[in-house]
Symmetry: C2
Subunit: 301 residues, 2 copies
């Protein structure tokens, strides 16, 4: 079992390749990053995100180290996607660099460790899930649900994933549902507004989500819609599990929530010119620890 | 101010015309019903719904009275859209018919009264809303939000509608947002999964929804997603108002919830053949009275 989203950005013989998530599930293709501007453009257009943008940052830091420092690169990345903490990634690199290794080695260490850490936490989570797990999820966890399913299978646990489509960008439909089905993992696609009904009918017995940011006290920021799942899960007594990485000692409310362009909300109105569109589209929401059953962390090196 | 959705089905010189909601907001066109089968086909394809299907039933009862009785017609309609109580509409007609008037007159009485009743309840609701009303709504209320806005304006109250797009069929985007914008009524389109965030940030201060079915004890059935809004509104202390009609003395849990075809959930996956799709798509959900602040009823004659 494998998902291309587990390693969505690759450095192969000094060629930086980015798996284009925006053409999924219709086309599986890699984009080449030749200049720093290519990387920034890919980031802005969300052609990669989540783990992909972490890898894109690290590899760009290596590839373009003669023209830009990790700190400066972090600032450029953060200006484009303000909710994600690229500065922390810059600090991770700097810390390693101070210990005398090259940027290349620092990035290699980070990425090698990552795969094992991700498998380990998938296993840890699998232990906590019921023997017949009906798992609600939203957005995309960069392939980690594939690890989770394998871990559950090895424990002789059954699982079905209920994938919330995750409007407006449809990461649930286009990425998660696609990667699960590709691996023949039982999965059912639902619309975001079906969640409360499925919980009430006891069809869902656990929720598993990722997080773009997290704090040491247990709060998280994740894709818009996560907070509603958490609130509803709490009400229905359904455990709500979160995969986090690099939790920070800060107040979650101080983190800027990215507002993305309205046109993603208006995709169904293309061609209707006269309505003077207006939409609100925060890209993420905050879920406080009181709604989270348990987090499974990957810590900074 | 006017919305074609206020009278989506019309009988003009014995020609039955149905406003095609499925081509909105791109085309505004009326379909002709010449045979009973046309009416049933329009119903199955949801080319009209809500008030439209009530009117379609009544006018079909008149137009095709020589070939089918109101009771039999109700059964045919209900087989197609099981959650809506066409049998009640049949009973309303029968009751009037017994009082000695023709089917034509019975339908005419019903429809004439309806407009006034709808305006009156919009006014009643407007009284209860705050002077700066930030109204969250879902699906489509067949033009009644236009009446509501007029009533609010006459009371010198300000209003903005936050329209939840209502996946998968997008009645919020295609119908409500369209009819509000057409009338230059302030309105903002949101994705269904943004609701909890907007409530938490106190951007929304009331919720107004319609209902497909309702009971005398105050429970309702409405478009899937309504129950989540109600639960979240209760948590955030936001009043939740419902427009109902013909509440019945029955147990809401005994009403069949229509399951619609999966392909509406899969609209974004067209052309991806190999994923062996599976989706769950109940068309409605149940909201019990404990989550409802107040209902504004239209009763059967």
């Amino acid at each position: 079992m494998y998902s291309p989203l587990l390693f969505p950005v690759r450095l192969e013989e000094r060629k930086l390749l980015v798996f284009d998530e925006t053409t999924l599930p219709f086309k599986e293709e890699y984009l080449k990053v030749e200049k720093l501007e290519d990387a920034l453009d890919i980031l802005a257009k969300m052609k990669t995100r989540a783990l992909g943008q972490v890898l894109l940052f690290f590899y760009s830091a290596v590839l373009f180290q003669k023209e830009i420092s990790p700190e400066e690169l972090a600032k450029r990345f953060k200006a484009i996607r303000p909710t994600f903490d690229f500065e922390l990634l810059g600090q991770i690199l700097n810390k390693q660099a101070k210990s005398g290794i090259t940027l290349e080695e620092a990035v290699k260490n980070f990425i090698e460790g990552l795969e094992q850490k991700r498998k380990a936490r998938a296993k840890e989570l699998a232990k906590d899930l019921p023997s017949k797990a009906n798992i609600l999820t939203i957005c995309n966890l960069s392939g980690e649900l594939v690890y989770l399913f394998e871990a559950l299978k090895n424990m002789a646990k059954e699982a079905i994933f209920y994938v919330s489509e995750t409007r407006p960008y449809l990461q649930g439909t286009r990425l998660t549902f696609w990667e699960l089905r590709k691996n023949k993992i039982p999965s059912i696609l639902i619309c975001d507004n079906q969640v409360a009904s499925l919980m009430q009918e006891k069809i869902i017995n656990c929720v598993v989500v990722g997080s773009d940011r997290s704090t040491v006290n247990g709060d998280i920021i994740n894709k818009i819609g996560t907070y509603a799942l958490a609130r509803l899960a709490k009400y229905f007594g359904i455990p709500f599990y979160v995969l986090t990485q690099y939790p920070q000692d800060i107040d979650i409310d101080t983190i800027e929530i990215e507002e993305r362009q309205e046109n993603e909300v208006f995709m169904f109105l293309e061609g209707v010119g006269s309505l003077e569109y207006e939409a609100v589209y925060p890209s993420f929401d905050i879920t406080k620890k009181e709604f989270i059953t348990k987090t499974y962390e990957i810590k900074a090196n």
